[in-house]
Symmetry: C2
Subunit: 425 residues, 2 copies
């Protein structure tokens, strides 16, 4: 299908990169766990050794972003500080410590006729990623792809171009030291939108494509891609406070889920309060949020208890603010809360705060989201927190992967069948 694009002269270097990625993926699939781990240790060391170079490149992106009027939330996503670079290096080293999924036997058996079948984990081959201006994603995806034996073709946002270019060059330099071809991690930022479009058409050359970013970006990739897609991330995330919700847990968890890092997808965007709990919990929740400068968009009944709130509109229920804004609605029953979630949620993460075991189980069973929680902050819906070392993204689709994606989600399987002359009767 990509053959017409292949003949466009401007895209010749793009396809040369894809071909190089395929060739590198064959070598990477044959690399030992030790070799991959040594390369990743080198990546971490190289990042640590070049902190000021990375910050300088990032600063050029930040300056350009500020000049172009990027919002504070987007500038926060874009920023690489020394502590953030250190946590990227730490995440890479955590991936070193994780078991290599390649070669794992998923299932196996000997059939009655003596034929032995075994399903093994294998790398996908070439993994594509399209994301926005978050340079940390470059390192996370490259490291997870390498450990799982995949080549990575990365299309980051143009707003992070300098940061990504520097990071990819450092990663390539590090892996080459350990015999892994530099082409195993490549950026295609220089081809702009034409490159992104060609990547989406490259069925057969790219095995899976992961979009990560805004709802718009994800929707575009899902709609246009001929390569199989794992849909990730937009998060209209809910917390439900029922009649038995402890005030302190409600205050702490809502505050944490909203303010700990408002610019990311697992931050809460809507709180649904049961009418029987509203008088008891909402004023305390509102007071704590006010301390952190959160603007509450409240429905009529919540507004009566939250004098500083602004009135919510229909649009608020489906908005992923990614900022210090929170929608609050009072509902009459738990079913009404679940129905609201069914209607407005992006099926990412939802949590209930409750002391009622029946309500907890009912909520866990009825809410059809990737991650459903009881009595804890939605900010835990994260690959790093789940112990995956880092994450490729959070899948909000049901095919292949759902929720935080780690190494295992970057593998496919292959059936190996051994016989000694058997035919089918």
């Amino acid at each position: 299908m990509s053959e017409p694009l292949r003949t466009e002269p401007d895209l010749a270097p793009f396809f040369a990169k894809l071909d190089a990625a395929r060739a590198a993926s064959l070598e990477l699939a044959a690399a030992t766990t030790q070799q991959k781990n040594e390369a990743l240790v080198e990546v971490a060391a190289t990042l640590r050794a070049h902190v000021s170079e990375i910050i300088a490149a990032n600063q050029r992106d930040i300056d350009a972003g500020r000049a172009n009027g990027l919002s504070d939330a987007l500038l926060d996503r874009l920023a690489l500080t020394a502590p953030r670079i250190e946590s990227l290096a730490t995440a890479v080293l955590e991936i070193v410590g994780l078991p290599d999924p390649v070669g794992d036997v998923v299932r196996g058996s000997t059939l009655p006729n003596g034929v032995q079948i075994a399903q093994l984990r294998v790398p996908f081959g070439v993994v594509g990623a399209i994301y926005e201006a978050r340079p940390n994603v470059t390192v996370d995806i490259a490291a997870l792809a390498l450990k799982s034996g995949n080549a990575a073709v990365l299309r980051g946002g143009s707003a992070a171009q300098n940061s990504n270019q520097t990071l990819v060059a450092l990663i390539q330099q590090a892996i080459a030291v350990h015999g892994i071809p530099a082409a195993a991690v490549q950026s295609i930022d220089e081809f702009g939108r034409a490159g992104a479009r060609a990547l989406m058409q490259a069925r057969g050359q790219v095995d899976v494509l992961i979009p990560r970013g805004s709802a718009d970006l994800i929707n575009t990739v899902v709609t246009e891609s001929k390569v199989p897609v794992i849909e990730t991330g937009a998060g209209v995330v809910h917390i439900v406070l029922d009649e038995t919700a402890p005030v302190q847990w409600s205050v702490d968890i809502v505050h944490n889920a909203k303010t700990q890092r408002p610019s990311v997808c697992n931050t809460v965007e809507t709180v649904l309060v049961l009418a029987g709990a509203a008088h008891r919990v909402l004023p305390a929740v509102g007071a704590k949020l006010a301390e952190s400068g959160v603007t509450i968009h409240a429905d009529e009944r919540a507004l009566a208890l939250l004098p500083d709130a602004v009135p919510a509109t229909e649009e608020d229920w489906s908005t992923e603010y990614l900022s210090l804004d929170l929608a609050v609605r009072v509902v009459d029953t738990l079913d009404e809360a679940i129905e609201h979630i069914r209607r407005y949620s992006t099926k990412h993460t939802e949590s209930i705060i409750t002391n009622d075991l029946g309500n907890a189980e009912y909520f866990l069973n009825r809410v059809d989201s990737a991650t459903v929680m009881v009595n804890t902050s939605t900010r835990f819906s994260d690959g790093g927190e789940f112990g995956f070392g880092a994450e490729v993204g959070i899948s909000t689709q049901k095919l292949h992967a759902r929720g935080p994606m780690g190494l295992q989600e970057l593998t496919s399987t292959k059936w190996i069948v051994r016989g000694n002359g058997q035919s089918r009767a």
Copy 2:
């Protein structure tokens, strides 16, 4: 995305069916294993009790097909005989005996902060299938969907319309007896191509779409669908005979793989013979195939050893004959055979006949197909043979499922997270 279609008056009954399927899927997700098994036992009994009715409906399809000039291979796929209906009923009962994947814990752990996470298997919800004139697929997919807690929306080929209509009505009647809504299994054949197109656009209403049939059909669905697709089936399947291949195994396995049921996707289409084995094995293989009336399409070197063969053209290497035709080519090295497979295979199933353990391992590792075999017939690449009871199809993509798909491949997962007040630091 489907909202524009939703307002087309002709498709109103189509969307009513999808809505009913969604509602049924919620009840089915809550059904117990026992309830689903009792419904399936009833389905098998109902099929057995209505054999003559099914055959009569099928005969109308066969007559129409013959009048429309369907090939023998297609008529064979279409035909429902009493023994074939009995094996459908048997397959349904085998599914009853299989463990229910819903609720299985895939992974789980307690995080250092005391938060417990568990990944559970859950049904997809609504599974769509688009396939050609093979009424057995109707029963297989319906039964697998029911056992895995999914509603099934089926679009069979118009050539099997009478058969499918009868089968779906019998299945609906059977499941309703055990409290499962009839709408959990539905045919949308009456909406023709417009229905198939609307099904492909129904993102959010249909959770996964499985095309099963010709390369053309699959390609259309993969290209046009907005619903996540599991690509199945076209099989340009290879058998390699190396220098150490025993003559008897070569003869038996190639004959079995070509003639046991030539109309299905795991039948062999191309045999690649190492030059060093050609003189020793090809004449015997050719003689045995000639007994069954197989036409061999041979390259120049194979032609010298197979006087009754016809010359192969470039097109033969990528043809899925689904008939008593076989392409044969002599290659100089195992790498050349693997390179041929990389170029022409649909990545379904390949087998090597060899006594050389090194060659066997090399082939298993280097061939990137869903199922890779040593010393056995490609006809074993089948969900029933693998012990899955029946199969939804054979996935030739790497995402979610690869190779024969059974119950587990019809499930997604969901993370359940339980805390007691934890927030993220």
